[in-house]
Amino acid sequence: MDSEQIIGLFKKITSGTIIEVIVLIVSAIALVWLAEKILRWLAEHLHSGRRLFVLAMIPTIRILIFIIAFVWIVPLLIEPTLQNMIVILGTAGVAVGFALKDYISSLLAGIIAAYELPYRPGDWIEVNGVYGEVKHIGNRVVEIVTADDTTVIIPHLKLWTELIHNANSRDANLMCVVNFYLEQDHDPYQVCRLLENVALSSPYLNLSKPVLVLLEEKPWFTHYRIKAYPMDPRQQFQFISDLTARGKQNLRELPVKFTHLSTYHDTIQKNN
């Protein structure tokens, strides 16, 4: 293909066309920014499932706006015949693909993420041992904020290779687990009843979800776990604290003792 043929693929570009393209790009970016701001603000005034629903609309709206802008801009620059489109997009795709392989891979993963929804804004996810709330899903990266208020930026690329743990996949139900370690000589039914009451008395508890108390005998202690759901995933740490404090306070009034294990026991336990 000689240079004349390549030039023939494009339309005659005037200053008016350039201005129109710039205006379209700026408008698309401004619209995305505005939509994100409004939806985020609205989500902050809502709770539980309604909040997650509004947050989940952000990436979808962004992709829709960019697709509309792309479809609008391309015919301004290229003669929109099938042959021209295949040549231009194919050539550009190969060139950009080689130069920015990881970047393009992340962008594609971002688009797939918007479709498959492995995570949505407001979800609590764990990737590579980092646990936090999804605050922003960009074109290339997902931003999560940990419980210690640290922002972690993860490329969508990780979607291809890593395990993504989503604690409240697609709804507002996030199970919390609270642990208690007691010396073995006690009445387990009494402790189970008490721990169930501990969960039921917490104001953070989502009363429409089940409460489960489990116990497991270990070599040096009995391990109790309360499994329950807070009303809003954002309350998970306060919920765990509340259950722990209530549990400790009430267990002290029963004839049970908390275990006092040394780091030596802990190491052996881990090795087992």
Binding site: L46, S201, P203
Partner: protein
């Protein structure tokens, strides 16, 4: 029932809220949406209020309601079965007062609720002996039998099976609708013989003294969810341009919701008991919340008991529903 008495006792499962006209529903949704943006819009005025006669707040003639109870329970009272019936009492509906009037008329014994020490000790036998019940009885407020703390839930869970087994004989239990929803969670039993008053419609509202056009009464009945007591409190305020229904402060947060839910669930709590129910909220913060809610007209302190104001009930219910709290069905 006579044609002029519109009080009706029904099975709680058959309760249906009055259906609001479409325009009203659209208006309510629009106002809820505006509230998200912090915009408070005045309620739309009624079409014609020249013929409005305002009743005394919350005061209405309870005799027709007592007659309705008599009519409904006629067979049950005459029977020999020692079964217990439940009467669900939506907040401020006046059902507890009606039940007390009815029990007095029937000469049924009014049971004294256990004190907080008895609730914690779960000593049902000792508490029941003190009641000296020889015949039929009435529990007029089941919220006094439970405190949402770790050691405050067992009393009711021990009491209910004994009661339903007929160990205490025949009796009527009046239970707050929010507490009933909570009890069904902590003691998941499919209760039978659960009744309530049918939702108030335009005819009943007229009977208790609210006179306006049929359309206005239908709107009011839907807005107050068929609750006569709330209707009597809300109606005069909505008719007075100088008065407004209380609204929650803009900075209401999780703690506000916990405080309001706890007070609603227990139908009023003292400061000390509220602190026991919400131990994770520091006393200072709790006091601040209570005072702020009092300032906004949401709460009032009556003989050291914090209670929801009747005219704030709809705002509180709306607020808790937006946060996915377990609501009553009324």
């Amino acid at each position: 029932m006579t044609d002029s008495n519109h009080w009706q006792v029904i099975a709680a499962n058959d309760f249906k809220r009055p259906f609001a006209p479409t325009v009203t529903r659209v208006q309510q949704r629009w106002q809820r949406f505006l509230r998200l943006f912090g915009i408070r819009e005045n309620e739309p005025e009624e079409e014609n209020n020249d013929d409005v006669e305002m009743p005394d707040t919350m005061e209405f003639d309870r005799k027709p309601a007592v007659d309705a109870l008599n009519h409904h329970f006629e067979e049950w009272i005459g029977g020999k079965e020692t079964v217990v019936s439940f009467l669900i009492d939506p907040p401020f509906s006046g059902t507890d007062d009606i039940a007390r009037d009815w029990a007095k008329q029937q000469k049924w014994k009014l049971i004294t609720p256990p004190d907080i020490l008895e609730i914690r000790a779960v000593d049902i036998d000792d508490w029941w002996k003190k009641q000296t019940v020889k015949n039929r009885w009435l529990i007029d407020d089941l919220t006094r039998y439970l405190l949402r703390t770790t050691d405050g839930l067992s009393f009711i869970r021990t009491l209910l099976p004994q009661m339903l087994n007929g160990e205490f004989g025949q009796g009527l239990v009046v239970c707050d609708s929010w507490m009933f929803a909570f009890i069904q969670r902590i003691w998941p039993f499919r209760f039978s013989r659960v009744y309530c008053f049918a939702a108030a419609g335009p005819e009943l509202l007229q009977q208790v003294g609210i006179h306006a056009t049929e359309y206005s009464l239908r709107k009011l009945a839907a807005r107050v969810r068929g609750n006569v007591g709330v209707a009597l409190a809300v109606w005069p305020i909505e008719q007075d341009k100088d008065r407004k229904l209380p609204e929650l402060p803009g900075e209401a947060n999780d703690v506000t919701a916990f405080v309001l839910y706890s007070i609603l669930l227990h139908r009023g709590l003292s400061g000390n008991l509220l602190h026991e129910v919400l131990p994770m909220v520091p006393s200072d913060d709790l006091n601040l919340q209570l005072l702020q809610l009092e300032q906004y007209g949401i709460l009032r302190c009556n003989e050291s008991q914090w209670q929801i104001n009747i005219d704030a009930y709809l705002a509180v219910r709306d607020f808790l529903s937006g946060r996915d709290f377990r609501l009553d069905v009324f």
